[in-house]
Amino acid sequence: MDTLIDLGGGFASALEPLSLIFALLGVLLGTVVGVLPGIGPISAIAILIPVSFGMEPVHGLILLCGIYYGSMYGGSITATLIKTPGEIASAVTAIEGYEMARRGRGKAALATAAIGSFLAGTLAIIGLTFLSPVLVKLANVFGSTEYFLLMATALLLASTMSSGSRAKALISIFIGLAVGLVGLDFQTGLPRQTFGMSLLSDGIDFTIFAMALFAIPEAIRNLALGRGAKDEIQSFGNDRWMTKQDWQRSSMPWARGSVLGFFIGILPGVGPSLASFMSYIMEKRISKRKDEFGKGAIEGVAGPEAANNAGVGGAMIPLFSLGIPGSATTALLLFVFTMYGLQPGPLIFRDDSGLIWTIIASMYIGNVALIILNLPLVGLFVKLLKMPKEILFSSILVLVGIGAYAIEFSLFGLMLLGIFGVIGYLMDKGEIPLAPSILALVLVPLLEDNFRRMLQISGGSFMPLLTRPVSLSIVILMVLGIVGPVIFRWWVRRRQLLADVSVG
């Protein structure tokens, strides 16, 4: 009940005209920034921080938070239309979203993403409002053992992301792991796999990796086809809004994505990116139209988009209550809080409750603003695809180049982009799926660090896997998940055999 009163107070100040304007401005800026590859919410927030310090703390925070979720949606626009994920969380959208756009379904893809983001964002904030105190305790159950198991499970599942050869999916995963291990080892600070190049000691940025793998091969292929080739992107005239069937097919993925994304988002360090990948994997697994995945299945856009926005909401829980940022962006927000004299941590709801509730209320408003702004723009964005293809694809190459420059500021970063572009092209050519390696790159630090922490803490023993209740349950689930289907299939076959025998 207190929560409702607090939230009411928050809404009262978040609904003031000025607050509303800043919320709108924030999501608009965020969308624009999200659209530009390589320029994520981080740069936008960093640039606006001095501006925001001139404002009331409430307005400043509303503006910056608006940028954050605006950019999450902005990233999915480029992922869908030009297969250029500006942020890791939207990498998954680049798979089905782009395939939809190629088939003249760009509007429906963007619409399902926008609506899914809105619904999931709102649900996650409701969760944040009412469940925070309970969920924070979850973090204390999740030690390194549990994290390791969770990451291992995620990677196992990643091998089912793509259709086609399982061996190739595994190759993709191990390529991602291989790239992710380059750089200074986090546990000891020693350089690894840098081939003597000190520039590699910072590791390989995953935005560069994702842009290179997805955007470059596609752009080069289209450009190389040259004149006279059939236009690849079919957006002529009859690109229509979501159909009734689209709504039906999107609704459950939205719901599942929201719940999944919210809970994964709570786990610090993984956040929205893992959420969107897991949602994709789940949708593909339970879909009756498995063969459509990879060819523009709307579920593969609706679910992950909902999940990554719900993940943003979930990530606010450890941020507010434990002071643990789940991503680089939330880390920056945390810094902003500090500069406003706010102290995220166990005491924030007690000491700064007015401000924190206003921020939470502004998130509801920001979500509404996001959908009001973006649904009408969907048609406009899709028009981009009508540009002559040589112009569209050569611009994409320039944009990813700027993106890489804005991350590394060096020739080295640009060359990395080009080299991974070639690797992506070759992988594509060898029919090795690209998405699993991106997920692997995101997960490898968490996988390895937590594995090593677990053994470091236990003195080399694997017993924690079985002695800790939560990890034991994960292990049991994993075993059931792997062995279960095998046994089931065997049982079915046996029954069939028996039936045949009895008939015969």
Partner: protein, 202 residues
């Protein structure tokens, strides 16, 4: 070996390439300093290297084995079913795009009406020479971006790319190349305070 279908041959090459990458990666782990930790910094990279070697060999071996089996069954070697035991889509060089036209019609019948005339033809695979050329141009662009500066190199790159494709529309290409470079430059430098290289104009 004559009976190797293009997809199978592709798998053999892919497998060998992956094995080579894995080998190099594994050898690189020898340079990682040993520590007294239980799991050393080299453990994971070594596992990854070995896994790549094994998977590469498996892929190549599988392709060879299957094509032999196929050759026994159908001496013509035409790979009729593509052997899709593991789901590898048949002999189409680019499964993802190749399968498009076929699946599209069946995949989403209800919305089929919306896309009249929007059936995607199986895209031609670009000629390797063209791909190499495009990549080469892209690398040149990446290479000169910093020394020459964003504005000049980008305008030149865009002009080149668009002119290869549509040489007769050089006026449009020129206007686009210059305008795009300038607009992007202004947006990034003044709007986002991301300094793009000025190069020789500086």
């Amino acid at each position: 070996m004559k009976t190797l279908s293009p997809a199978r041959r592709g798998d053999v090459i892919t497998g060998i390439a992956v094995t080579l990458v894995g080998t190099v990666y594994y050898i690189a782990t020898f340079w990682i300093q040993e520590t007294r930790n239980i799991i050393t910094p080299a453990t994971f990279p070594a596992i990854v290297g070995v896994a790549l070697i094994v998977l590469g060999l498996f892929l190549a071996g599988q392709a060879l084995y299957r094509s032999r089996k196929l050759a026994e069954v159908a001496p013509g070697g035409a790979a009729p079913a593509g052997g899709g035991i593991d789901g590898t889509t048949s002999a189409c060089v680019n499964a993802e795009h190749g399968a498009t036209s076929v699946d599209d019609a069946s995949a989403d019948p209800a919305s089929g009406d919306e896309r009249t005339g929007a059936v995607i033809d199986a895209p031609e695979e670009p000629k390797s020479k063209q791909v190499v050329l495009q990549f080469a141009l892209f690398f040149v662009y990446l290479g000169i971006l910093i020394p020459v500066g964003f504005l000049l190199s980008t305008a030149a790159f865009l002009m080149t790319m668009t002119s290869i494709y549509a040489p007769h529309r050089w006026v449009r290409n020129l206007i686009f190349s210059v305008l795009f470079s300038v607009v992007i430059y202004i947006a990034f430098v003044y709007g986002l305070a991301v300094y793009l290289p000025v190069g020789i104009l500086g």
